[in-house]
């Protein structure tokens, strides 16, 4: 039984197609990475999945009472509100002990009394992730958690995220800005460009000597490459040029 599934989902804004005929499903404790170029509709798709947007047509099915932990790209907190990290985490209703444990796990103990407004991008991402985890989600949804984080930092964050699956037994949907480098533990990769370009499994980076040479063994364990050649090309508007629609080929 899948936690979440989409069938033939379509969405357009002002007659511009943003998503067309999207099929998707994710089961318990699965990890899926969504990749695609800017403007491919990745964030929009994620918002449909978690119910922030309604599609024009198609079906979205979520398991009843599905607990979702959501890490948005950014927080819309107004500067008029004073709020420190500790209080922000406590607003989930979690106990003091749980909040303390999360501080350790996400390496944000030193930020406990810092104001949210003063955090750097990377710090805020860790705090948002910690907050999502405090809700003990069955599905963790991360919208580009790695913006502005370097490759070494990415590998560390990936290891942390992967450990969350073990800890919470939750499924994870992650949007990545990188078209080829994904998390090693990803079960499937969805390549999106308004429609589903292809959907497949990644291969371990460690098998690719080039990546190994670039980043060293420690990093390579946490990263994987997604090699994909599309059977079609897009023009500047994202329309498919030569759609004979056989599947993408993988190496």
């Amino acid at each position: 039984m899948s936690l979440l599934s989409l069938q033939e989902v379509n969405l357009s804004f002002n007659q511009r197609t943003v998503l067309s005929a999207i099929d998707f499903s994710i089961g318990e404790a699965e990890i899926c990475t969504i990749i695609g170029p800017n403007g491919a509709g990745k964030s929009t798709l994620v918002k449909i999945m978690i119910g922030l947007l309604q599609p024009d047509s198609g079906q979205v099915k979520r398991q009843a009472d599905l607990r979702i932990g959501y890490v948005p790209q950014k927080l819309h907190l107004d500067r008029g509100m004073p709020l420190n990290v500790k209080r922000f985490l406590a607003l989930t209703g979690a106990s003091k002990q749980e909040v303390q444990a999360t501080f350790q796990q996400f390496d944000i103990k030193h930020l406990a009394t810092e104001q949210i407004h003063g955090l750097s991008g990377g710090e805020l991402q860790r705090v948002l992730l910690a907050r999502a985890v405090l809700r003990k989600p069955q599905l963790l949804v991360l919208d580009e958690p790695l913006q502005g984080v370097d490759v070494i930092g990415q590998a560390k964050l990936y290891r942390l995220i992967a450990s969350l699956r073990e800890q919470l037994n939750c499924a994870i949907i992650m949007v990545s800005h990188d078209l080829h480098l994904v998390m090693a533990q990803t079960d499937s990769v969805l390549c999106l460009n308004q429609h589903v370009c292809c959907h497949g499994e990644p291969e371990s980076v460690s098998r690719h000597p080039e990546y190994l040479r670039l980043f060293g063994g420690a990093v390579a364990e946490d990263l994987a490459v997604y090699t994909h050649h599309h059977d079609h090309q897009h023009d500047l508007h994202g329309n498919i040029l030569n759609a004979d629609h056989s599947a993408c080929s993988h190496d």
């Binding site: 979702i68 107004d78 509100m81």
Partner: protein, 263 residues
């Protein structure tokens, strides 16, 4: 040397002002966090329309002001969902249409039946026991609702998307806040009048912003700043023979300026 007659004269206005300031503090914090200042003005303008209609229909004026505010809130809510125009444009339309309609209605009534000046600038010294009862009952109800829904309201003020994913009904919370504001505006008319009501919500909260480190502290300190401003304003209105409403707002503005000194 204390003048007891004067104290007795000021007791009811002071009680009324303190009651309003206590509830305006936390609510004002939400107005600051959610950038609803212009909406506060719109409510104040619609309250004048409520007064005029209340006099015509011979209703309780506080209730008719509240109803006018709730009506405007619902109208805004509908327009926001249907119109491509920005919120502040919609508010500008609603706010001034309501004010214009209110002024037209007032002018149609005979001058004796409605003291326009009192509603525009407040008429604190005419506060009676019934007003006190209304202020404290409505104020306590608003505070109780705020306390009961505190966490959802704060979450929705932090980030509506995040709150929605966590299962809070963001639309209902937004409407709840609008209704609470309409209530507070209605009970504040006597204190400061249409033109200055928003100041009562915003200035104490803004002064509290720089002095506090959590949303809860900001709400409580906003109440305290409000109470201080009411006491200072009412006494200085007697001392210097100036209108009470503007004196209260000016005192709050002084506290705000003082809060800027803190680094």
């Amino acid at each position: 040397m204390i003048d007891f007659d004067l104290l007795q004269l000021l007791l009811l206005p002071l009680l009324a002002g303190i009651g309003i300031a206590l509830v305006a503090g936390p609510l004002g914090a939400f107005v600051v966090w959610r950038r609803m200042a212009y909406f506060g003005d719109t409510l104040a303008h619609s309250a004048l329309l409520g007064v005029a209609l209340g006099v015509i229909a011979d209703w309780n004026l506080t209730v008719s002001m509240m109803l006018a505010g709730v009506f405007i809130s619902l109208a805004l809510w509908q327009l926001q969902n249907r119109s491509p125009l920005a919120s502040d444009t919609l508010l500008g339309i609603l706010s001034h249409s309501a004010l214009a309609l209110g002024l037209v209605c007032v002018s149609l009534l005979s001058a004796k039946r409605i003291n326009l000046f009192g509603y525009l600038f407040g008429d604190l010294l005419t506060v009676g026991y019934a007003d006190i009862a209304v202020i404290y009952l409505a104020g306590a109800a608003c505070l109780a609702v705020l306390a009961y829904c505190w966490r959802p309201l704060v979450m929705a003020a932090i980030d509506e998307d995040l709150a929605r994913v966590e299962g809070y009904s963001v639309e209902k919370l937004r409407l709840l806040l609008m209704v609470l504001m309409a209530t507070v505006v209605a009970i504040s008319m006597k204190l400061v009048g249409v033109l200055l009501i928003t100041a009562l919500l915003i200035i104490p909260a803004a002064a509290a912003r720089r002095l506090t480190h959590s949303p809860e502290a900001m709400a409580i300190v906003a109440s305290m700043v409000g109470v201080l401003s009411v006491i200072g304003g009412i006494f200085s209105s007697v001392l210097f023979d100036i209108p009470a409403g503007p004196a209260v707002v000016l005192t709050a503005a002084f506290v705000f300026m003082a809060s800027l000194i803190k680094k």
